[in-house]
């Protein structure tokens, strides 16, 4: 508590001119004016009022309400609490209350007020985050607190962030000495990320020596940034490639292995995404404790749903059309219209929200590389799906039969394999894989009836570019197309980049009419 008091006293010395509602900061909170609310937050933090932390915290979670005559209440699970007294408030009529609204300026004031306090939190992550907040706010007022926090800090990682925060704050402080500033620039230069660049670029009116050091640091960060950007593009490319791979993997089975031109493939992906939505809603309604797990739970379910629909399609439609690939194309096109409209009738035309679990949100910084968790998860997921698919084809009895049937149907039938069932299961497998792709795509794209449409053309391109009938070809092709696209995009722009990829693909097919990895041998030639 003493630290808290000291900090507040120090804050008084540096904080902006006093707000009009300083006598009663709570009245400021109830004013409905964003400037007054921001001022009230700062004033409340200074006031030493024991209710300050609770009130500001409530504001952050949208739980603060203003009533008539500048009354301020906090909404809690057990009812209304008067913010001034911390006592339970009786007889509050919700219709008289208005939420205390927050805008970005207020949000920054909240971050600043809470941020400095948290430098002394018992949790290392909270301290690190607080230091990061100070780094971003570059508020010289936080310097004394930082100094003590650094002295007290045992965790090396948190400590280095605090040092960076101190550097940022000192650089923004006109009172700092040049020696300190030079040292600070070195610290920031070592941090070397985009925030560091932003901070250094914003330095103005510095002594010549400091300005030179800053310019050198900027140049150095920019140089390393350029090197990292290659790695970053590779990551983007892998990420795009993994999306393409997921979308195309199922098609590599149904189209590549079975030769069925399934225009409703995209709809299988869409069904997977909607399955994810339904799973999430069901879990949210009946087992909220599991909600972080809804994605892993959705994966097998999406496989089953899309797989079952796939088997139904094969039994009901496609089996009548074997040997007539182009008729299959038309019938499945009709089917895709029906499926889209069915989903539209069932779930409505608008997007459905599939939320991202906490463990997939945000990004990690690795050198100059930003790696977003959801993308990384999708890359890993894609690789796992394809590995499982290959293993299933190679090592399971079903896979063996599938290969036998696709290689020599009559011989397989003669050996007692029930080929119609194998056809249905193969098609179901391909569709199920598409369904799993839908789970991943729900994380980065719209969950709407049109979801599948956006991927069908790309999927066919990937399979054809890789070489029909070759799963490895599909893998190489997906990642190649992804990476080429992402290297072209910064140069040519998103649209031209995509056009270029398509043109290159057309030219490539002219050179190698059977894709990257054609199946060779007489069987194919005949």
């Amino acid at each position: 508590m003493t630290f808290f008091r000291c900090l507040l006293v120090l804050l008084v010395m540096f904080v902006a001119p006093p707000a009009p509602a300083q006598d009663d900061p709570f009245a400021g909170l109830a004013s409905g004016n964003f400037d007054d609310v921001s001022a009230a937050i700062a004033a409340l933090a200074l006031s030493g009022n024991p209710q300050a932390a609770a009130t500001i915290g409530a504001l952050q979670t949208d739980a603060l309400f203003a009533g008539p005559e500048a009354a301020v209440y906090i909404r809690t699970d057990d009812g209304w609490v008067d913010a001034r007294t911390g006592q339970k408030a009786e007889g509050v009529n919700e219709d008289d209350l208005n939420p205390v609204r927050v805008n970005n300026a207020v949000r920054r004031a909240i971050d600043a007020a809470l941020g400095s306090l948290n430098l002394f939190s018992s949790s290392a992550t909270v301290r690190a985050k607080a230091a990061e907040d100070v780094f971003r706010s570059r508020d010289p007022a936080a310097l004394p607190a930082l100094a003590r926090a650094i002295a007290k800090e045992n965790d090396a990682g948190v400590r280095s962030v605090m040092v960076q925060a101190r550097a940022a704050a000192r650089l923004a402080d006109p009172a700092s000495s040049d020696t300190d500033k030079l040292e600070d620039i070195a610290v920031i230069r070592a941090r070397g990320d985009i925030e560091a660049l932003g901070l250094l670029s914003s330095l103005h009116d510095q002594p010549a020596e400091v300005a030179t050091a800053a310019a050198a640091a900027i140049a150095s960060i920019k140089r390393s940034e350029q090197l990292w950007s290659v790695a970053q593009s590779v990551f983007y490319g892998l990420s795009l490639g993994s999306v393409l791979l997921l979308a195309a993997a199922g098609l590599a089975i149904t189209f590549g292995v079975m030769g069925v031109i399934n225009m409703a493939h995209g709809e299988m992906v869409m069904l997977g995404a909607y399955t994810t939505f339904v799973v999430q809603e069901t879990i949210g309604a009946h087992a909220p404790a599991l909600s972080g797990w809804s994605l892993p739970i959705a994966v097998p379910l999406a496989f089953l749903v899309s797989g079952a629909v796939g088997i139904a399609i094969e039994r009901g439609l496609i089996r009548f059309l074997y040997g007539r690939p182009l008729e299959t194309l038309l019938a499945t096109w009709g089917l895709s219209l029906v499926l889209q409209q069915a989903v539209r009738s069932l779930f409505g035309a608008s997007n459905r929200e599939v939320s991202t679990p906490a463990w997939m949100s945000g990004a990690a910084q690795w050198g100059g590389l930003t790696i977003t968790w959801n993308r990384l998860t999708i890359i890993i997921f894609a690789v796992m799906v394809v590995a499982a698919l290959m293993a299933a084809l190679r090592y399971t009895a079903l896979g063996l039969r599938m290969r036998a049937v696709t290689q020599n149907r009559r011989m397989a039938a003669a050996m007692g394999i029930r080929t119609p069932w194998i056809d249905a299961l193969t098609f179901g497998l391909g569709s199920g894989v598409a369904g799993m792709a839908g789970v991943a795509l729900s994380q980065i794209d719209n969950v709407s009836p049109n979801l599948g449409q956006g991927y069908i053309i790309d999927s066919f391109m990937v399979v054809v570019f890789g070489g029909v009938g070759n799963l490895w070809g599909t893998v190489v092709s997906a990642f190649t197309l992804g990476i080429v696209n992402k290297f072209l995009e910064p140069v040519a722009g998103a649209v031209l980049g995509k056009i270029l990829v398509l043109v290159l693909l057309i030219l490539f097919i002219q050179r190698r009419p059977r894709g990257l990895f054609p199946l060779k041998g007489r069987a194919v030639e005949a």
């Binding site: 060779k520 041998g521 007489r522 030639e525």
Partner: protein, 250 residues
């Protein structure tokens, strides 16, 4: 590149073809005289069809040369160019143009200008009709002239295809398993037909059916694992211990 001698029509020199490491033809060399009929036999996978593919330009060899006539290297040409030189081919599975009539099948096969700018304006001439009539007679398909080729029986399709081959008027005919799936009577008739063709054309016959080969009574080349195992009359190769081992030994 030297040719063995003046009368050589086709000379395969050290031809090698491999698919994914599997050698379908392994340094195959073969000489054929003008006017000769040659039977090529061998177990499955011996490289018979691949040899035909190489001669007709469908497959490019990894090594070696195929010399046709005086000094034409077939490995540099594609299928239509080779066909234009006068090499005709009949496939193992009869492939005729099923939606077209028997008559039209012959019409398309007749030697003549193959370019689109010709066929677009071409009208059937008297001479063409006469020749088609002649082939209809040779192949005994006269009554079926207006039937769709797809409606013919298997044997009739085989004959139609051989007839179309004749209509091309090639110097060399490559015939792949002409009697597969035929009745004994049809087989005998086919052997007769081939001998008749051989009077004016050189012929290579690939066949499994030993009786048929014997009935042809021509020089036989035995292929095994992409190379020539033995060559000579049917009795000669039949007595060759290597041949016996390959055919009977496993």
């Amino acid at each position: 590149m030297t040719r063995p001698h003046e009368d050589t029509l086709l000379y395969l020199d050290n031809v090698t073809v491999s698919f994914d490491g599997f050698r379908a033809l392994n340094a195959l060399s073969l000489v054929m005289e003008r006017g000769e009929m040659r039977a090529v036999i061998g177990p499955n996978g011996a490289g018979k069809t691949t040899m035909m593919d190489v001669i007709t330009g469908k497959t490019r060899p990894d090594e070696g040369a195929v010399i046709f006539g005086r000094d034409t290297d077939l490995t540099r040409l594609d299928e239509p160019a080779i066909a234009a030189l006068g090499i005709g081919r009949k496939f193992q599975k009869p492939t005729v143009f099923e939606p077209l009539t028997v008559w039209d099948n012959f019409l398309l096969a007749l030697a003549g200008d193959r370019r689109p700018q010709f066929t677009l304006w071409a009208r059937e001439t008297e001479a063409e009709s006469d020749r088609i009539e002649a082939f209809l007679a040779t192949t005994r398909l006269g009554d079926l002239r207006h039937r769709r080729a797809g409606d013919l029986s298997h044997g009739q399709k085989q004959w139609l295809e051989i007839g179309m081959l004749l209509a091309q008027d090639p110097q060399l005919l490559l015939v792949d398993e002409p009697v597969a799936g035929m009745t004994d009577a049809e087989t005998a008739q086919t052997a007769e037909l081939l001998r008749e063709i051989n009077r004016s054309h050189s012929v290579v016959v690939v066949e499994h059916d030993m009786d048929f080969v014997r009935a042809l009574g021509v020089k036989v080349t035995v292929l095994h694992e992409g190379s020539v195992l033995s060559e000579g009359s049917i009795d000669h190769v039949g007595a060759d211990p290597k041949v016996i081992e390959v055919y009977l030994g496993r």
